[in-house]
Symmetry: C2
């Protein structure tokens, strides 16, 4: 329906990138670029730096801009980068968004401001309006980001509908990371004709694909992008779907705060590189015992990067 070619939402798997760190907990550009180049070579449509899985709000504006610049310098096409520009202070969101636009990134993924809680829809709408009106650039493609179990501020249907009405060419997608299939299906039913709905929870991908979703920003795609892609492309065998479900079940047995450290643990095991274990506080890196357990578990699940 949207005939503005600039506004076309993305297709394929755009991994929710984990962010590798150096010993001083600064971003490790070398590992980060190598990781992304491998994902692009594996067929990913693009990549999504600095979402929740990437500990995005744990990094400053300068750190995030420098890491995106490093990806482009390493040869990642800018148009294959969807930058998560979420921050508590709107001028920080603005600075990150302007940088993404200047870089030629595909688009931006934006949370509502997440410090103050229980704010009314009007305030959430005002926040997006502040950003979009100040940027005032028709090249901006914005994806609304809904992850209430972490951000504690979510996006109601009223917020989404209002923003789409106000900015029909700017609002191109919704990332629904609530991990609740009924919520995702209701979003798809309400908005898929006008705004592309994407889910982050991989077991829900086939259901959403049937409803018109064309891709995913996925955490598991950091190490099994082809498998995740099969779920979206509707050519996944029952065995493939069952494997993804087993990986998610394995992760669901962890405390929620251990999810990102465990995903980094899987990377450490697959790359044989304990540097991947580092996280920035308030996260806590996997202990050696937990890593050993994880090694056993992924052996059972049978993650195989070359195939997956």
């Amino acid at each position: 329906l949207n005939t503005n070619p600039v506004a076309m939402p993305f297709v394929g798997i755009w991994p929710a990138l984990l962010t590798p760190l150096k010993a001083d907990l600064s971003i490790d550009h070398r590992r980060f670029c190598a990781h992304v180049l491998r994902l692009v070579e594996a067929g990913c449509g693009g990549v999504t730096p600095f979402g929740t899985t990437g500990e995005g709000p744990s990094f400053t504006v300068d750190e995030r801009r420098a890491a995106v610049d490093a990806l482009v310098a390493a040869g990642v096409p800018a148009e294959r980068i969807l930058v998560s520009t979420s921050a508590a202070a709107l001028p920080d969101v603005e600075a990150l968004t302007r940088h993404a636009l200047a870089t030629g990134a595909h688009g931006c993924l934006m949370l509502p401001p997440f410090y103050l809680k229980g704010v009314p829809d009007e305030g959430v709408i005002d926040a997006y309006r502040y950003l979009i009106d100040r940027i005032a650039d028709e090249r901006l493609r914005l994806y609304l980001y809904h992850i209430p179990q972490v951000a504690a501020v979510g996006l109601s249907h009223h917020v989404i509908a209002t923003l789409k009405r106000l900015y029909p060419h700017t609002i191109v997608g919704i990332k629904d990371s609530q991990c609740d299939r009924a919520h995702s299906v209701a979003l798809a039913d309400a908005f898929m004709r006008d705004v592309r709905v994407y889910v982050g929870f991989e077991p829900d991908l086939p259901e959403l694909a049937r409803r018109g979703s064309t891709g995913a920003v996925s955490g598991l795609a950091n190490f099994m992008p082809r498998v995740v892609h099969a779920l979206v492309a509707e050519h996944a065998s029952a065995a493939t779907a069952a494997r993804v479900a087993r990986v998610r079940d394995l992760l669901a047995r962890l405390e929620p705060y251990a999810l990102i450290p465990a995903l980094k643990g899987i990377m450490a095991l697959l790359d044989d590189d304990t540097g991947w274990l580092r996280v920035r506080p308030p996260l806590v890196a996997l202990e050696p015992g937990a890593l050993a357990e994880l090694r056993q578990s992924i052996g059972v699940v049978g993650i195989d990067r070359a195939q997956d």
Copy 2:
């Protein structure tokens, strides 16, 4: 018990400053400085910019540093400023803390990183250790900030005890803004001998003063600092305590998200200056109808800036 004179925690009322904004929603330095100078002249021990009441995390590092610089340039003694340096990204906290130290501020008030939820105590401790170890400056006076109903990440007794043991001269106070008297009393019983406990909820001040608290970072002190001081100094009449309780009851009838806009509304009424009504999204400014209601209510309560 702490014989390091640098580490003495504050005494008196240090208002949790509201942050006045210009029409473009940038910080209005002129109104901000005038507000602070009046509070200092009214006898406040100092002031606390950029806490929750001051919408602190809604402003960038640069905005916050410039506003503190403006206060000092306007003649506010730096040692009478307690800077809230909370931010989601630890290097931003570090930059704000270094600036506060370079300015000669009294100290810093710091939340744990607040984007990721349900994090373990170990991660919260790691966050404070990251900051204190990197700053590595014995002049640093740190106040731990507990406001779980907003930050969604709180400070357990274990976190406080561990940090005090690791950094006995740096950790000088706890700001408890949970607004739960039983919680505040338990904190005082556990820690007051070694770490000064302050509460933000004014009706609890007399109880805490009896247990050794020596001041408050108070929202109501933006416009009734003498009244709030009387509650701490234990010379408040029953009538004074009842007045403060009536103001809090009035505010408690609002939705929680309307508290900061209403406090700014009271400033707008007292200063006859609608510029005070502005808030940064995701907050929403008081509507004219709500402001008219508030005018009636504070008339009944009888707020009188010259006396209060």
